[in-house]
C-alpha cells in the first residue's frame, strides 16, 4: 500500500518534469534546472502532504506553499495544474503576453499561487507572516516554503530565520533545494553557504538533512517536522540541478536556458 503510494507520487513527479520541459521549451525561456531539482519535494507537498481544495483556492484553512525561489515557477505551475487549480493546457502559455503564468509567480494572476515571488530572499518572511496570522486566528494550517541554496546568500533570509525561531513558528516547514549550483557557478565557489545544517540549527531551527529525490525520505521528513513543537523546521534536501534529464543534470548552463525543440524531444524520451 505504502509502496503503491510512493510509486504513484514518483510517476506524478515524472509527469511534472515532463510539463517543465514542455513549458520552458514552448516559452523559449525560463528556468528548467532549478525547477527539476525541486520537483520531487513539490510533488510530495501537493499530492501527499498539503490540505488543499483546488475548487476553493482561497479556503481560509488551506495549507500554504510559498515558492521563495520564484524562478522555479514552471515547477509550481505544473503542480498546480496537475492538482486541478487550472487546466493543464494553460501551461503552454508560460511567459506569453496576457498569460496568468508570468515568468515569476504572481498571486494576483493565478489561483493557487500564495505569494508573488521572484526577487530572491523574500518568501520566508512572507511565510512567517502567514504563520503568525494562523496563530492569531486560531487556525491550524501550515506554511511550507521552498528556498534555493544560492538564495540563502540574501541577508533577509537570515532575518526571517531569526524571527521564525524567536516567535516559535512551529507551523512553518521550509525546504532547502540544495542543488549546489547558481548562475555564476558552484555555490561553494561563488559564495559558500556551508555549513548549512549548522547555520539553521544555530538560528534555532529543527534541521533534517535528506535526499531530496527520495520520495520516502521526503514524506518521512515532513511527518517528523510536523511533530516538532516550538520550533520552525528546515529540511535540507540534497538535490541535483536538472534532475531526471541526463544532459541537464549538474550542468549550471541549464539554470536559466530553455531546451530547444530537439532537446525537448530527447528529454521527454528520457522521462517516458
Amino acid at each position: 500500500m505504502e509502496g503503491e503510494k510512493i510509486k504513484r507520487l514518483e510517476e506524478r513527479a515524472r509527469e511534472i518534469r515532463r510539463h517543465i520541459i514542455r513549458m520552458t521549451g514552448a516559452a523559449g525561456s525560463g528556468h528548467p534546472g532549478g525547477s527539476l531539482s525541486g520537483a520531487d519535494i513539490v510533488t510530495a507537498l501537493y499530492f501527499a502532504v498539503m490540505r488543499l481544495d483546488p475548487q476553493n483556492p482561497r479556503w481560509p484553512d488551506r495549507d500554504r506553499f510559498v515558492l521563495s525561489k520564484g524562478h522555479a515557477a514552471p515547477l509550481l505551475y505544473a503542480a498546480l495544474a496537475e492538482r486541478g487549480f487550472f487546466p493543464v493546457e494553460e501551461l503552454l502559455t508560460l511567459r506569453r503576453l496576457g498569460s496568468p503564468l508570468q515568468g515569476h509567480p504572481d498571486m494576483k494572476k493565478l489561483p493557487g499561487v500564495e505569494f508573488s515571488t521572484g526577487s530572491l530572499g523574500q518568501g520566508l518572511s512572507a511565510a512567517n507572516g502567514m504563520a503568525l496570522a494562523a496563530r492569531l486566528d486560531g487556525r491550524d494550517y501550515r506554511v511550507y516554503v521552498l528556498l534555493g541554496d544560492g538564495e540563502i546568500q540574501e541577508g533577509m533570509v537570515w532575518e526571517a530565520a531569526m524571527a521564525a525561531a524567536h516567535y516559535r513558528l512551529d507551523n512553518v516547514t521550509a525546504f532547502l533545494d540544495f542543488n549546489g549550483l547558481q548562475i555564476d557557478g558552484p555555490v561553494s565557489k561563488v559564495m559558500s553557504v556551508e555549513p548549512v545544517a549548522e547555520k539553521w540549527r544555530a538560528f534555532g531551527w529543527d534541521v533534517q538533512v535528506i535526499d531530496g529525490h527520495n520520495m520516502e525520505e521526503i514524506l518521512r521528513a515532513v511527518e517528523r517536522a510536523r511533530a516538532v513543537r516550538g520550533q520552525p523546521q528546515m529540511i535540507v534536501a540534497r538535490t541535483v540541478k536538472g534532475k531526471g534529464i541526463s544532459f541537464m543534470e549538474n550542468m549550471v548552463e541549464w539554470h536559466g536556458v530553455a531546451p530547444k525543440p530537439e532537446e525537448v524531444e530527447r528529454a521527454l524520451a528520457e522521462l517516458a
Partner: protein, 313 residues
C-alpha cells in the same frame, strides 16, 4: 497654539483602530518608543510584533500577514522603512497590492541632531514611484488620525509620512479627510502655495504676511501626494497663474515634482519648488535646519514675492 507631533497622533490613532478592528496588527523594528507604536503594544501585546533591527523582514512579514487577511501597520524611521526595505515594499507588497501600511516617523530634516544619515528627504519620491501605492503626508495631529483611519479602509498599500517634532494643530475636530482630495486652507488669486506636511503651517504663516503686502495667496494642503488631486492643482494654475510648492523633502521627486508634472501637462505656468535642494541633511536643532535649508515663512514669503513678480512674463 497647541503643538502635537504627528507620530504622537499616530500612536493614539493606532490604539483606537486596534479597539475597533481585531485584524489590525502592528510591527516595529526596535523603535517602538520613538514611532509611538509602543502605545498599541501596551494595549494589544498579542497583536504587536517587534521584528528587531531588520526592516526588510518586517515588511516581508507584514506582506505575509496581509496575504492571510490581516491589516498590518509597519513602523520605523522613514529612512529605513522606505530606503532599506524599498525593494521589499516594491516586490512583496506593492506588486501584489497587499494591504500593508507603512507608517514611518522621523521623516525630513526635523529629525534634527541625529544628522543626515537619519534624515529622510527622498521617501516621498520613492513611495510615489510605486504603482498601487497611496501616499499620505499629514500636516497635523487631526489629519494624522484621519489619515491612519483612512489607510485602514483602503484595500492596498499606503505610505504615511510622520514627523518627530510637535507641529501646530490646524484643523478642528469637524475636519473631513478625503484621500486624494486637497484642502484649500485659504483663498487667494495672486499666487498659490501648495504645501504638504509640516510646511502647511508655514505656508499659512507666509500667506498671512503676504496679505499685509496686498498679495492674495491661495494655500493648498496636499495631504495626499498620490493619487494627486490634479483638479485642484490645475484650477490653481489657471486661476492664480503661478505656484510655489513647499515640502520638507528633496525638491526632486516629491510634492514639487508631482505638481510640476501635472501643471506641465495640463496648464503650464511657472512652478517654484521650495524644499531640500538636492543635498543631504546634517546635525542641528530642527529650527536651525529649517532656517538653513530655507523652509521658513520668511523664505517662503520671499519666494512667492519673486514668483508673483515674474508671473506672466
Amino acid at each position: 497654539m497647541t503643538k502635537i507631533a504627528t507620530r504622537d497622533a499616530y500612536g493614539k490613532a493606532l490604539v483606537e483602530l486596534g479597539r475597533e478592528n481585531p485584524d489590525v496588527v502592528v510591527l516595529d523594528a526596535d523603535l517602538a518608543k520613538s514611532t509611538k507604536t509602543i502605545e498599541f503594544a501596551r494595549h494589544f501585546p498579542e497583536r504587536f510584533f517587534d521584528m528587531g533591527i531588520a526592516e526588510q523582514n518586517m515588511v516581508g512579514t507584514a506582506a505575509g500577514l496581509a496575504a492571510a487577511g490581516k491589516i498590518p501597520f509597519c513602523s520605523t524611521f522613514a529612512i529605513f522603512a522606505t530606503g532599506r526595505a524599498f525593494e521589499i515594499i516594491r516586490n512583496s507588497v506593492a506588486y501584489s497590492r497587499l494591504n500593508v501600511k507603512i507608517a514611518a516617523s522621523h521623516a525630513g530634516i526635523t529629525v534634527g541632531e541625529d544628522g543626515g544619515s537619519h534624515q529622510s528627504v527622498e521617501d516621498i519620491a520613492l513611495m510615489r514611484s510605486l504603482p498601487n501605492m497611496t501616499v499620505f503626508v499629514p500636516a497635523d495631529a487631526v489629519e494624522t488620525r484621519a489619515a491612519v483611519r483612512a489607510a485602514a479602509q483602503i484595500r492596498g498599500p499606503v505610505y504615511i509620512r510622520l514627523g518627530r517634532p510637535g507641529v501646530p494643530v490646524l484643523h478642528g475636530d469637524d475636519f473631513h479627510f478625503e484621500p486624494g482630495r486637497a484642502v484649500i486652507m485659504r483663498e487667494g488669486n495672486d499666487a498659490t502655495i501648495i504645501a504638504t506636511g509640516i510646511m502647511v503651517a508655514t505656508a499659512l504663516e507666509a500667506a498671512g504676511l503676504l496679505e499685509q503686502e496686498g498679495i492674495g495667496v491661495r494655500v493648498i494642503n496636499m495631504h495626499t501626494i498620490k493619487p494627486l488631486d490634479e483638479e485642484t492643482v490645475i484650477a490653481a494654475a489657471r486661476e492664480t497663474g503661478v505656484i510655489v510648492t513647499a515640502e520638507e523633502h528633496s525638491i526632486i521627486g516629491g510634492l514639487g515634482g508631482a505638481v510640476a508634472e501635472t501643471v506641465c501637462t495640463h496648464h503650464p505656468v511657472p512652478v517654484y519648488r521650495l524644499g531640500i535642494p538636492d543635498v543631504f541633511g546634517e546635525s542641528g536643532r530642527p529650527e536651525e535646519l529649517l532656517e538653513k535649508y530655507g523652509l521658513t515663512a520668511a523664505h517662503l514669503t520671499a519666494r512667492v514675492r519673486e514668483a508673483v513678480k515674474r508671473k506672466g512674463r
